[in-house]
Symmetry: C2
Subunit: 435 residues, 2 copies
């Protein structure tokens, strides 16, 4: 097989066969395919797309390009949730221990933030000592103790995805539904899970700006998951304003703790509950949403969900006592307000701009290896739909000695708009894709 | 400027501006643009195309990426001919000295064969001692002595084209009219010429299979040449059967010598005369075709055209006496015939298949650095439109000790078809593109 022929075939809009895709992915993983041929193939895919079969073959080949988790000897259904990235999205921190408390095994391999969207691993690292780089044995040991784990992919997992993703980033070939699908789903397949609920974000703060685009990605993800033998569903959810009332790292961990204790903000709790319900049903732990909701209630009210979180934190090297006392995690002391420009109802709190404000304060990174400041961030005092008066603080910018504050103020100012009357708030869940 | 942004811009179908193209080409030439970004950009260009302005900017930037010939101190108009590649196409060997004998300065930077098409440099190397790798000073010295030179590009000419061409070859991005245009025209611009006639081949043996495709390439080449300040025209010519009666190296040189002495095959002579006429008119040496034709006649009949060829051969290290005596160039002694399958008229002599037969015998190369055998090749005994009887030899395969003969026989057999009656022979020149 010659790479140039496979590039030409795709360039001409033809579908590759399974052996061709497997050959390509193997050559990507073992380094025998030069970057320039991989780059040309990626651009041809961005142009011509991939058939559902090709996407599934690509996903499976990428998953098998490295080490996969073998969780066969753990008791309970293995189930995960994956979000396509949002602002203030700390649902993973809530959902993983919540579903574990409901009987699921949740081997969540997660990522870091890039650009204006936050990353689950960065948030957890706000807990002193918390380790996200685990060996496969440590992943299993944590699952045995806590029923859940949230860690980064190991060095040897999905090497083909790591190489292709790095190339896509520098060759303007990120924005391809089949390539996004294969990148996300190859990591999920490598987790060895039985069931998966995807949270595909749509809106101002999301990668997919419209519900239609998000729906297309959701359909591709679900079809690919099912082709890989994973019971898969997707919720398309709104990402116009940040989720909950915090954006950052320490502040989001603390908000997740609140949610696990049953006193989180309404939108965050609602989203976590909905995701957990579908995970529980897909995992086969309950037959329907109503029964799943009762199981979720019990796990939250009994404190078992929060206990699972504390157990996971301890198993991964963090000190759980820091999460139970005020001031246990460092939060930046500098506070500057961004205010409402007039009287009325808060119309928008643009998630992307708020995310970029947090980035400016030091919460995010421009390059994949940049460090982040766990203590800075943004607090949301007023949410869209709530009444405001001119000059009323809407956001609090939590800064470290003024670092990035001017830029953050400018971004936060643009994020806030006020209107005279209130439109009906749009639904949180826009679509539920089951096939 | 960031390469990823220029890739994205082209990917989205937008035109780049002049400074962006210049930046890209500089980065290609100095090696600062990684191959994978160049490859992604090339695929995006193949997908989205280039505007005429972009193609012209790319061409000029590529020409200026390296050393250009400075022929300002040579007397006479500098004029060249370029063909897009055919089978049995020895017109360069005839036209360069012919136009030099008519008063033009012909600095022909030529290439090698690849695949089933022959290369002018390979043909000339059938002359023992003939050197195609010349320094710029040697190029000028040869032009001063002979009025013409046929050489390869120097190491320092159009480095951006060399790098991009090598990448296109392995990333399936050859077949793009603007990229083909920039590759061809950048080398012509670097020659420092005033006028250029292009011979764009169409048909079975050509890169462009249809006259329409060849016409599009011709229009792009002509527009780009004019934008670069070169008086440029193109003839679209038929390439269904080999040109003349030989395919190979030594045999083609000997046939070119025949044509320069006024006894070449009719189709070859007609094409050379037509190309030379337009070169002479575009160079400003004569006002119209009729006057140019008289000048051509005089150059051929007086022997001055042939003398120019001998002078060029001598200046480039070859022994001109070898061209004036029978057996001066080695021609393979093994001869095997390919015969007509029936009585009638020779309908086709498929140029690509004949070219591939010559390749099988050792006349061509699969890889850019492979050596070629100058002595082997194919003789055409019967041309399309001529009557044949079953079993009559149509081609002679000139082989070295049977090397590649079985494959060549099979290809030659497929190249020959016979029909009962003769269709009107199509015109040699299909189109004349002047703007």
């Amino acid at each position: 097989m010659r790479a140039v022929d496979l590039i030409r075939k795709k360039r001409e809009g033809q579908a590759l066969v399974e052996t061709e895709i497997e050959w390509l992915v193997r050559a990507v993983a073992d380094g025998s395919l030069p970057d320039y041929q991989a780059a040309a193939w990626l651009m041809a895919v961005l142009w011509r797309g991939l058939e559902p079969d090709e996407t599934a073959w690509l996903t499976l080949a990428m998953a098998r390009s490295g080490e996969c988790l073998d969780l066969a000897d753990l008791e309970g259904p293995r189930v995960d949730k994956h979000s396509t990235g949002g602002v203030g999205d700390k649902t993973s921190l809530v959902v993983a221990p919540l579903v574990a408390a409901c009987g699921g095994i949740v081997p969540m391999i997660s990522g870091r933030g890039l650009g204006h969207t936050g990353g689950t691993l960065d948030k957890l690292e706000a807990i002193p000592g918390f380790r996200v780089r685990l060996t496969p044995d440590e992943v299993k040991a944590t699952l045995r103790r806590a029923g859940c784990v949230i860690a980064g992919q190991t060095e040897r997992m999905v090497p083909a995805d790591r190489r292709l993703y790095a190339l896509r980033d520098v060759t303007a070939t990120i924005e391809s539904v089949p390539l996004i699908t294969a990148s996300i789903m190859s990591k999920k397949v490598a987790e060895g899970i039985d069931a998966l609920v995807l949270d595909v974000k749509a809106g101002r703060g999301a990668f997919m700006k419209t519900a239609a685009d998000a729906g297309r990605l959701a359909a591709s993800l679900v079809a690919t998951g099912r082709a890989a033998g994973i019971r898969t569903e997707a919720l398309v959810t709104r990402m116009d304003a940040p989720i909950g009332r915090t954006v950052g790292h320490a502040v989001e961990v603390l908000e997740a703790v609140d949610a696990l204790r049953g006193r989180g903000p309404e939108d965050l709790s609602a989203l976590c509950r909905r995701l957990a319900e579908r995970m529980i049903v897909l995992a086969g732990l309950e037959a329907d949403d109503a029964a799943a909701a009762r199981r979720v209630d019990a796990a939250l009210e009994s404190g078992r969900a929060f206990e699972r979180f504390l157990t996971m934190v301890e198993a991964q090297g963090g000190d759980p006592r820091l999460l139970e006392r005020a001031g246990g995690l460092e939060v930046a002391q500098g506070v500057a307000a961004a205010e409402a420009p007039g009287d009325g109802v808060l119309a928008t709190l643009d998630a992307e701009l708020v995310g970029r404000a947090a980035l400016a304060l030091g919460a995010g990174r421009d390059l994949a290896d940049d460090p982040v400041d766990p203590a800075v961030g943004v607090r949301v005092l007023v949410r869209p739909g709530e009444p405001v008066r001119a000059g009323q603080p809407v956001l609090e910018l939590l800064h470290r000695d003024g670092r990035g504050l001017d830029a953050a103020r400018a971004l936060a100012g643009k994020a806030i708009t006020v209107e005279e009357t209130q439109a009906a708030p749009p639904a949180l869940v826009l679509d539920h894709v089951t096939a």
